[in-house]
Symmetry: C2
């Protein structure tokens, strides 16, 4: 599928940052400054491009994004900050854009200075080939250990105009500081009020990118940037209106698609499981329990082993730090009840084992404390994950 | 080394709970009711023997412990509670001890009812062979996936009398609900005031058993029980005195020995790393950072891969939820400085790689926020860990 977003051009080129000679520099450029919202890593150790990007998105409109893969520009001190700003200056000079309207992103090895000569060459090369049709090349150039590019697109009608919402993302471990990180870019030609854009992004991120886990680690470089350039000519979407709902639905679809692609492409992953927690007092409480289960190494190795090891799920529920009553908890696996009122059911074990042979399934946990729910999607923990993450050498 | 503790007898027998026919039932019996203190799992899903044991230790003195391995008696409902109490009643009847002074422990598969016929046979068999010299047989009968028994002993002089402090423990994953859990029994012939005993146990547990991690999971069955039978004839040790300090030092030695044996015997483990955090505002803050690093799958796979992947350590420090300044952090690996003021040092990488080839080493992290420190000991995350925890089938 060829994805285009009116008013945006893209490039994805190779400039030698990756030894493999794969594409490693991407540009996303809007024909006019776009309203911007972003969520960045909560890690206190933030890479230089994250610090630069945070400042710029806070300050105002954004017109271009420059991304390199193969080097995270993190733990690189003052030189790293200068390099991140120089990446933007290069793009600004080359394209006649205010460098303060350029956001930099980096992903790859931590603690190694950016090879700026290569970046300079890459920016020049990319600027030369910018095209509305190169969305997928840009989506390829931001990858590291990912096996496949991750893109999604949808459209909706706002104020009588058809608008496009499209996104690209990368990430295969939630963090693998040398070679992973989550980056996501969501683009639309809709005109959107800045407060509304921020609102939609933060709410949607909570239910999508922030609801998937591969290894529970948080990168120094995570960035989700949402740009709306207004080329569609609709009246700017405002908070609370009908159009805001429609846009949020479109953004949700794209971001959930991308988030699930991250889990499906998890390092070494062979399974995708949705951990759905019901009957909680609040969505936050539900998510706390779902996250404990989704991040348990023992649950995840049981998924890999296709073993309906219910004790591990119950143990993870129990240490989630929610004052629940174990004797009220029900657990189902792909529709098969495996724990009733806190007691493991031996009679459904073989049925459950059959479900766990599937590539993806749902684990449903009812706490019977309230009416709130939350889902977290997780991969399994395989020998492949360990191999990928231990074999990588300096 | 043959461990004996005056006034205590032991047994470790096989009664068929484990299919392997290995020893699976242990007894620890004091000639007189002993002052008792215990720490139990913080998991809200608690196994039946934990619930029974909590009640009894709170109520008063303890004279015997009965432990079975191969079945955790967890998620087994009301039947499980009856079985746990029946285990104690059997021991009481057989040995003429008040059943309320017997503590039960179980470790092994979750969600399967205890095979009580086998337990009955086991208790009878064990009662017949109780002996002051069978400490190591009992230490063997409490094991599950452990490769080696874990025991330690020391002595000190209190109030002019020589007293012994000895301990046995089991555990190879911090939890692997089917086949792991941490159990520890610390025994002394000293006379100790109950409040002093509780005080020493809780403080020491924090720095030893609660400062080691294999996979960050918490079992439904964890139990550390400390019994002091007073056979040594010393004046009871009280809080605040010189003897309390001496006893705490002895208990610390035994518990730290046992805790480090747990990490060394971690499922699939090939490394033992001490994560020492210095320069924190409080010991709790230091432990928070040390735990984040010690539980990071990416740090642990780097240990397995012998790769000085400093970015992963810095990333884990950053997401520990402590308001630290990344630009002040120093990290050393076995004495070699690898991060200075938040910046990775390329020039020491090969030296650090050499250190990581050792079986055990220290990672030292200075936050430069205060004067407090804490250590957490951790294993690596290997393909072996995943194999052990995914291959186990019902």
């Amino acid at each position: 599928m060829n994805i285009t977003v009116p008013g945006f051009r893209f490039a994805g080129v190779s400039c030698g940052i990756k030894r493999s000679k794969k594409r490693d520099l991407a540009l996303i450029v809007s024909e006019r400054p776009a309203t911007a919202a972003a969520v960045f890593t909560t890690n206190r150790v933030k890479a230089a491009p994250v610090l630069t990007g945070m400042k710029r998105v806070r300050r105002g409109k954004i017109q271009a994004v420059v991304v390199n893969s193969g080097n995270a520009n993190a733990c690189t001190g003052k030189q790293g900050m200068r390099d991140a700003e120089n990446m933007c200056r290069l793009v600004g000079a080359r394209l006649g854009i205010d460098p303060n309207r350029v956001v930099p992103s980096s992903t790859g090895v931590i603690g190694v200075p950016l090879p700026m000569q290569k970046v300079i060459r890459g920016v020049g090369k990319a600027a030369d080939v910018l095209s509305p049709d190169s969305f997928s090349l840009a989506a390829t150039a931001i990858l590291t250990t990912d096996r496949v590019p991750k893109t999604s697109m949808t459209a909706c009608r706002l104020d009588g105009k058809k608008v496009v919402v499209a996104g690209m993302a990368k990430g295969a471990g939630m963090v693998a500081p040398r070679m992973a990180t989550v980056l996501g870019y969501i683009l639309t030609d809709a005109a959107v009020d800045p407060a509304c854009l921020r609102d939609i992004l933060s709410r949607t991120a909570d239910r999508t990118f922030n609801a998937v886990t591969v290894d529970g680690d948080t990168s120094t470089n995570d960035t989700i940037l949402f740009l709306a350039n207004g080329v569609a000519g609709n009246r700017a979407v405002r908070k609370g209106g009908k159009d805001a709902k429609k846009l949020e639905k479109a953004v949700s679809k794209v971001m959930k698609d991308l988030a699930l692609m991250l889990v499906a492409d998890a390092e070494g992953g062979t399974k995708v499981a949705e951990i759905l927690v019901e009957g909680a007092r609040s969505p936050a409480e539900a998510k706390k329990v779902a996250s404990a289960v989704a991040n348990s190494n023992l649950v995840k190795t049981a998924f890999f082993g296709e073993d309906p090891n219910l004790g591990r799920i119950m143990a993870a529920v129990g240490y989630a730090d929610v004052p629940l009553d174990p004797d009220k908890i029900d657990v189902s696996l792909g529709g098969v009840r495996v724990v009733r009122r806190g007691m493991a059911l031996r009679e459904t074990q073989s049925q459950a084992a059959r479900i766990m042979r599937q590539r993806s399934y749902q684990v449903r946990i009812n706490l019977r404390r309230g009416k709130q729910t939350a889902s977290v999607w997780t991969s399994d923990l395989s020998t492949g994950y360990v191999r990928i993450n231990s074999a990588y050498r300096t």
